[in-house]
C-alpha cells in the first residue's frame, strides 16, 4: 500500500504550533520518526529502580488516599446492567462505609450505553465539569478494538457526550498505526475531539487509549504518545484492559517522559492514565513515585493522572484500614460492587 504523504491533515492547533502551518502526513511522519529511540533495557532498569522506593508511615497514608482520588472505577463487561452500574457508583461515592473520611474516586468508567444509568445514579454528586463530585467517563469509538468506520466512532462519541459523559476514553486505530498510516490515526483523533464538543461550547475531556500491548515496541509507544498529544488528546492512556499486557510501569514511565517533554516544549500539561493490571496498593504506589519523580508532584491530581482499575480500590481500602487499626482485616471487610 502506498501512503499519500502529501495529504493535508486535519488542522489540530497543537500540531500546527509544533510542526508548522503546512500540516501534512509527511511532516507528521518526519516528526515521529525523528523522536529519539528508546533503549528497552535502560527503560526497564529505570522503572525497576523507581519501584524500589520505600514509602512508609505518613507518606504511605498520603499515597493511599491519593490513589483513591485518582481512580477511574471501572466496569466494562458485556454483562453490565444499570443495576451493576448503580452499585459501582455507590462504591465510588462511599468506598468504605466503615470510614467516612475515605475520599471519593475521580470517576466511574463505563460503556456508552451505561452513561445515563451512571449519571442518574450519581445524581447531585455528578461532577459535570466542576471540581467536586465524581465524573462519568465513557469508553467510545467501538471500544476495545476500534474496528468500525469513523462515522460509527463519531456517533458513539456524540451519544456518550449527549448522555452526560464528562470524559471520553477513545481507542486509536492500531492497525492503521502499525501499517504506518499515522495521518489516519491523527485525523481520527482530531475528529473524535471535535465530537467531544457540547452544544454549550464546553467539551468532554478526551483520553486517547494507545493499547500499548498491541503496539508492542517502546519506540511505537513513544511515537503514538506524541501523535495523540499532537492531535489534541487531553490524556494519553495505556490500555483498554482487554489486551495483555495492559499497563506496565516501564510503558507508563515512557508515556510520562513524553508528557514531560511536551510540557518542556510548550508549557502545557497532558494527563496520563495507566489502565488494567494494577491491582495492589504496592503497585499503585510505584506509579505515584514514578509520576512524582518523572513529571513532578503537580501531576498527582485527577486532572493529570488516573488509574483505570476495578479491584485496586479494595486493596487500597484494606491497606488503609490496616494503617488505621494496626492489623489486617480481610476481603469481607470491604464491599464488593
Amino acid at each position: 500500500m502506498t501512503i499519500q504523504t502529501s495529504v493535508a491533515l486535519a488542522p489540530a492547533a497543537r500540531a500546527i504550533s509544533v510542526l508548522g502551518g503546512d500540516l501534512t502526513e509527511r511532516a507528521l511522519r518526519l516528526h515521529l520518526e525523528g523522536l529519539s529511540g528508546v533503549d528497552a533495557v535502560g527503560l526497564e532498569q529505570r522503572s525497576a529502580a523507581l519501584g524500589t522506593r520505600s514509602i512508609k508511615t505518613s507518606s504511605k497514608a498520603w499515597a493511599l488516599d491519593k490513589i483513591i482520588q485518582l481512580i477511574d472505577l471501572t466496569t466494562l463487561e458485556g454483562s453490565d446492567t444499570p443495576g451493576k452500574v448503580r452499585s459501582l457508583v455507590a462504591k465510588a461515592l462511599t468506598p468504605d462505609p466503615s470510614d467516612p473520611s475515605t475520599p471519593r474516586v475521580a470517576a466511574v468508567c463505563v460503556y456508552c450505553d451505561m452513561v445515563p444509568a451512571a449519571v442518574a445514579a450519581l445524581g447531585s454528586a455528578h461532577a459535570a465539569g466542576s471540581d467536586s463530585g465524581v465524573s462519568v467517563a465513557a469508553v467510545a469509538t467501538a471500544f476495545p478494538s476500534g474496528r468500525a468506520s469513523l462515522r460509527v466512532k463519531l456517533a458513539d462519541t456524540a451519544d456518550a457526550v449527549e448522555a452526560g459523559a464528562d470524559e471520553i476514553d477513545m481507542v486509536i486505530d492500531r492497525g492503521a498505526f502499525l501499517s504506518g498510516r499515522y495521518g489516519q490515526v491523527f485525523d481520527d483523533i482530531v475528529a473524535v475531539k471535535e465530537a467531544c464538543l457540547r452544544t454549550d461550547g464546553t467539551s468532554a475531556h478526551l483520553k486517547v487509549i494507545l493499547e500499548t500491548g498491541e503496539l508492542n515496541t517502546y519506540d511505537n509507544v513513544r511515537r503514538a504518545s506524541w501523535l495523540a498529544i499532537l492531535a489534541g488528546g487531553d490524556f494519553i492512556k495505556t490500555s483498554t484492559g482487554k489486551v495483555a499486557p495492559a499497563a506496565t510501569l516501564p510503558v507508563t514511565l515512557l508515556m510520562l517522559e513524553a508528557v514531560r517533554d511536551w510540557y518542556r516544549l510548550t508549557g502545557e500539561r497532558i494527563g496520563v492514565k495507566p489502565a488494567g493490571g494494577i491491582r495492589t496498593s504496592k503497585d499503585a504506589i510505584k506509579y505515584l513515585v514514578t509520576v512524582a519523580e518523572t513529571v513532578g508532584e503537580e501531576w498527582l491530581a485527577p486532572q493529570l493522572f488516573r488509574f483505570g482499575a476495578s479491584s485496586l480500590l479494595n486493596d487500597v481500602l484494606l491497606q488503609r484500614q490496616k494503617l488505621t487499626t494496626g492489623h489486617y482485616s480481610g476481603p469481607d471487610y470491604v464491599t464488593v460492587d
Binding site: V41, T52, S54, S58, S59, K66, A292
Partner: protein
Amino acid sequence: MPEPRNSFLDYAPAPESTAILHLKKDYGLFIDGEFVDGRGKSFATISPATEKHIATIANASSDDVDTAVKAARRAYDHTWSRMSGSDRGKYLFRIARLVQERARELAVAESLDNGKPIKESRDVDIPLVAAWFFYYAGWADKLDYAGLGAAPRSLGVAAQVIPWNFPLLMLAWKIAPALAAGNTVVLKPAETTPLSALLFAEILQQAELPNGVVNIITGAGDTGQALVEHPDVNKVAFTGSTAVGRAIAKSVAGTGKKLTLELGGKAANIVFDDAPIDQAVEGIVNGIFFNQGHVCCAGSRLLVQENIHDEVVERLKQRLSTLRLGDPLDKNTDIGAINSREQLERIRELSDIGEAEGADRWTADCAIPENGFWFAPTIFDNVSTSSRIAREEIFGPVLSVLTFRTPAEAISKANNTPYGLSAGIWSDKGSKILAVADQLKAGVIWANTFNRFDPASPFGGYKESGYGREGGRHGLAAYLEGAAK
C-alpha cells in the same frame, strides 16, 4: 485525611534496621582461623555519615604480617594445595550460600562503615559478592579447562590489598579466584572500611574453612607494604591508586612474584546524537554518581556530541535534582556519604581547581547533613581536555562535560588519557557502537549501559589503569601457572 505533607517527594524516613547487626567492640586480626590481638596500635573505624565510632580495629605490625604469611604457607603446603578441586569448590559454594544467608547483615555493615546507600549495598554489592563466589566455586574442579593446558598449578600464598570503595566486593574479586585456583590468601582491607571483611572472617569460621587458608589482617599503608614485600609471598594483587600501584610494581620487580594491579581511571562516557536520550541520561547518572563516584571505572568524563549538548546537560541537571542525598541506611537514599575526610578534601580541592580553571560549575541543590562527609552531585560544563578535572581521577560525585563533533574526535578525546579502564558508548545504531568500541583503549566498554558487572566478564585496564584481569577465565589465570612445557 492524613496530615497534609509538604511534599510527597519528602518521603517519610525508611531506615533499614541495624538490629540484625551484632558487632563486637573490638576486632582482632584473623590469622590461622582465629581472631588474635594485633601488635600495632589499634585504630577506630567510624561511620562517614555521622563520624560516630563503630568499633576498634587491631593494627598488624610486620611481625603480625609474618605470622599471617606463615599460617597461609602452612595451610597451602599441608591442606589447600593437596585438596581436590571439587572439595575446594564445596567450601566456596558454602561461603557463597552463607553470604546470601547473611546478606542483609553484610549490607547494613557495608553501608554503615563505607557510607554507601543501603540500596546499593543491598542490590549491587552483596549479590555480586555471592555471585563471584558461586562463579569461581564452579571453576575449582575444572582448572584443566581454563585454557592453560592440563593441570595448571596454583602459585602459593597470595598477598591481596583492597580499597575502600567496594570493600566486600573487592574482597570477593580477590579471594574467590585465588581459592578456586588452590592458593592461600593474606588479605588487607582498607583502613577506613575493615568491618565487612571481619564479618566475612566470621563467615569463614562458620563455613569451617581450614585454618590459615584465608587470613585477614587490618592496618594502614605500612601493613600493606609489609605484606606485599614479604619474601614468602608468591602473588601480589592490588586494587587502589596508581601511585601506590607504581610503588608496589617497583618493590615486586625482580622478586618473581606474580602481580595484578587494578588502578585508577578517567573513563569517557560517549553520547552520540542518535542515543536513546532518556536512557543515556540515566546512564550518565549511574556512571558517575553511583557509589558517590567512588568507582575506579566511573564515567567521569562525559563526551557529548555538540549538537545535543544543551539538551543533555539540561536533562541531566533536572534528573540530578531528584537525587536524594543523606542517611546511607535509608532505603530511599541515592547518594550516600563520602568515605573519609581525606577523600572529601581531595574532591573539594580538585573541584576548586576546576572552577579556577574556568569550567562552569553546577551543584545540585540538596541539604547537606551537619555531621559526616558529604559532597553534593556536581557537574562541570565547558571543560577542556587540558583541564586538570578532565585529566585527574577525582574519585567523587563530580562530572566533567566535554563535547565532540565527529566519531573520530570522540575516539581521540576518549583515548587521550593516561588511564584506560573503562568507557561507555550511547547510540541506537549498533554498527556505530561496534566501530567505536573497536578503537577505544579501555579494558571494559559498555554500550547503552554503564557500571554493570558480571563475574564471567574479565575486568582490567590499559596503561596507568593497571595490568592483569579479574573476573572470568582470565581472572582465574592470574592465580595459576601453566603446566611446564
